[in-house]
């Protein structure tokens, strides 16, 4: 790693940048215009975010708070847990533990820094990870393994049997950083009573582990409060997602990113409820006026992202699809499979509910919620179980009347990249043209954005979509 990169902590750099951005949100238009000249390196990203008005500034404030929590955790006598995006942070919020979600932080590096997470990704390789290991995890994990972040106190992951690459990286990090580590395990069969009981028992063991690490008992009332907040958030999410069915879609392109990033970082926190409320108001307003969520352009096509978005500098991916008049119908990541969603009836035994009547029901709700998260269930593989990634993607693409399905991911994703071609064939058979982006969502060095956009243009033109 270059010596100058070691001068500052990676989380502090991201946090400082977002702190400035959060302040920009309070300025007048003229002040913003002037201030943007002083932040040439992330001006593009900020402009795209600020274009979303109040929702955009609220999202920036949320990210600022996230980093504030991390950077001040130890000062506030809180513990920091390193987790993966496939693990709901709800329980940690209920126990006053500050979660660091590795994949989201790598994505933020890509969106905010010209050099992305390259130095940290490469540090991961220097330590022995392969270049084709999961880049979403390797980026920020590389920084923490280099000691360039607020010290992580312990690690929790839920990827054994789900993504062994991810789980092995956590196991290695635990050894390397000499930190305690807990793994939730997931059986092959999902949704049956035996599995549910196994998951619940496993979840109870996790609570024992967390109590040991923090020296604090789980507070039932606090847990109820957090879960009730999640319940409200789930309702808001379901309501917003319903609007994807409208043509034109009244949902702005970035809203999907806000939904899933918010859920991975802030599930159960009131600030996320505030963001979702603002989003719903904007969407309802657009729908009432028959407006598309796109900025200054008409909706010409509709895409469903069957995995993740592209987190390249200046939010070029999101900006480009907006310029083309393409409505983003969401990614599979934002789908929480709550039992009150429009798509839930198609996926019996794959959804969860929230019951806060007793500790047992709350733990059951949380273990089931966790078991429906991306990768734990949905993106485990297209042929792993019925009613998972493949069926969900087809069902959602159909429900939202998508013109095509786009795959973007990382070559390190064994679950999706490893099976994306057979998956694409099946989705094509169902009548949806599929484009596989060969780039890495977290590392532009795999395929430059310029090459990716050329191939996207080719796809839209040849398949007669645009």
């Amino acid at each position: 790693m270059r010596p100058e990169i070691k001068e500052y902590n990676f989380d502090w750099m991201l946090g400082s940048l977002l702190k400035t951005a959060a302040n920009i949100g309070n300025c007048s238009e003229k002040e913003i215009k002037t201030l943007l000249n002083y932040v040439p390196y992330y001006k593009g990203t900020l402009e795209v975010l600020l274009r979303e008005g109040e929702v955009g500034t609220c999202f920036i404030r949320l990210l600022d708070k996230y980093f504030d929590n991390i950077l001040n955790a130890h000062q506030n006598r809180k513990k920091i847990v390193g987790i993966t995006f496939c693990l709901s942070p709800t329980l940690f919020h209920a126990m006053d533990i500050v979660p660091v979600t590795l994949e989201v932080m790598t994505g933020l590096c890509g969106l905010l820094w010209k050099r992305g997470a390259y130095d940290y990704l490469d540090h991961g390789v220097e330590l022995g990870f392969t270049e084709t290991s999961c880049s979403s995890q390797r980026g920020s994990l590389g920084a923490y393994l280099a000691g360039l972040g607020e010290e992580i106190d312990f690690l929790v992951c839920d990827t054994p049997g789900v993504c062994d690459t991810n789980a092995n990286a956590f196991a290695f990090a635990s050894e390397f950083m000499e930190k305690p580590f807990f793994q939730l395990n997931y059986p092959y069969i999902i949704g049956d009573e035996k599995t549910k009981k196994y998951q619940l028992d496993d979840y109870k063991d996790l609570i024992v582990f967390l109590e040991e690490q923090t020296g604090t008992k789980l507070d039932q009332d606090r847990l109820r409060e957090v879960l009730q907040e999640v319940d409200v958030q789930d309702d808001l999410l379901a309501e917003i997602e319903d609007f994807y069915c409208l043509i034109p879609s009244p949902i702005p392109i970035l809203f999907n990113l806000f939904m899933y990033m918010g859920r991975f970082l802030f599930s159960g926190m009131p600030e996320y409820t505030e963001l979702l409320t603002l989003m719903l108001e904007k969407v309802q307003d657009n729908a009432k006026n028959g407006l598309s969520g796109l900025h200054q352009t008409q909706e010409k096509a509709r895409i469903f992202m069957c995995y993740i978005d592209h987190y390249t500098l200046d939010m070029k991916f999101f900006d480009w699809i907006n310029q083309q008049g393409i409505a983003h119908l969401g990614a599979i990541l934002s789908r929480n499979f709550r039992d009150n969603t429009r798509y839930a009836p198609d996926f019996q035994k794959s959804t969860y509910g929230i019951d806060t009547s007793s500790l047992e029901t709350m733990l059951t709700s949380m273990s089931e919620m966790n078991a429906t998260l991306p990768m734990v269930r949905s993106i485990r593989g297209p042929f792993d179980q019925p009613n998972m990634w493949l069926e969900e993607s087809i069902s959602l693409a159909r429900m939202y009347q998508a013109d095509c399905v786009i795959y973007n991911g990382t070559p390190g994703c064994r679950n999706t990249w490893g099976m994306v071609k057979p998956f694409a064939k099946e989705v094509e058979k169902a009548g949806f043209p599929v484009h596989i982006m060969y780039g890495d969502a977290f590392d532009d060095r795999v395929e430059s954005w310029e090459s990716s956009v050329n191939r996207l243009q080719e796809f839209f033109s040849i398949r007669g979509i645009l």
Binding site: K421, I436, Y438, N454, R455, E458, S461, I462
Partner: protein, 262 residues
């Protein structure tokens, strides 16, 4: 009378053609320069000279290839896949599947009766399935790239070599040379590695007859015959013009459509 032009700026070569009343009157094929604009300018000047026409006489010009967006003189830029589909159909009217191996990528395109591309697949890995791969290997062997194709027919025992990375394949070839393996066996091994990668790619879209090859590698008889063996069918050989010009011809045909539609 219609007079249109097509210009295909590829990573290795730049091609330009002029169509007069749907007849190919002049073609040009040059080595690409660092800047696409410069390559296109040279190729266009050459083709104007050959056709004895001036730029002003060209009613419409379409650009394609990786540098298509950078060309100031074209009226329109079209995707490579569309142009290759269109061009191949004009060169071989019965074609349904086109295997185009260019300098830095390879594509398998299925077209409908009108020449419109309906399905396509491109290489998702490095240069080992492309023209650049053959060029690098020919250089290591110390032979002209045009001689590489004939090595397959001469070889009795082709070598097996790394086929996922051009640099590693180059290291393999050097090792084989040092070990005294006959040049034709190394050359045939190179063609086989290339053909196997393309065949795998082609099979993903279930190629339908008639199949033809375009791009520079279409002139490599070794790769072509091995691909025929691997896919289990004979290809239709393009004889109407140089198969490497298919993209530029397709671009000119799009230009012609613009004129006739007006």
């Amino acid at each position: 009378m219609t007079m249109v032009a097509g210009c295909d700026v590829g990573s290795l070569t730049t091609k330009a053609v002029i169509l007069k009343n749907n007849q190919l009157v002049a073609t040009s094929l040059i080595r690409s320069k660092a800047k696409p604009q410069e390559s296109a300018r040279i190729a266009m000047d050459e083709v104007y000279g050959k056709a004895e026409v001036s730029e002003r006489e060209i009613q419409y010009c379409v650009g394609t290839g990786y540098g298509r967006e950078k060309l100031a003189f074209v009226n329109e830029a079209k995707s490579e896949i569309s142009c290759h589909g269109k061009g191949a159909k004009w060169l071989m009217p019965s074609v349904k599947t086109i295997i185009d191996i260019g300098g830095q990528d390879c594509k398998v395109i299925k077209i409908d009766a009108s020449g419109q591309a309906v399905k396509f697949v491109t290489n998702d890995k490095c240069a080992s399935g492309t023209g650049r791969f053959l060029e690098v290997m020919a250089k290591v062997l110390g032979i002209d790239i045009n001689e590489l194709g004939s090595q397959t027919a001469k070889s009795k025992s082709p070598i097996t070599m790394a086929s996922t990375c051009t640099v590693w394949a180059q290291a393999d070839v050097i090792s084989f040379i040092h070990a005294g393996v006959p040049l034709e066996d190394i050359g045939a091994g190179i063609n086989l590695a290339m053909a196997k990668r393309i065949a795998t790619l082609a099979n993903t879209v279930k190629p339908e007859k008639d199949i033809c090859m375009t791009g520079g590698v279409a002139k490599n008889a070794g790769v072509l015959s091995l691909l025929e063996d691997l896919l289990g069918c004979r290809f239709k050989k393009i004889r109407k013009s140089d198969p490497q010009l298919a993209g530029a011809i397709g671009a000119a045909l799009f230009a012609r459509e613009q004129i006739t539609e007006k």
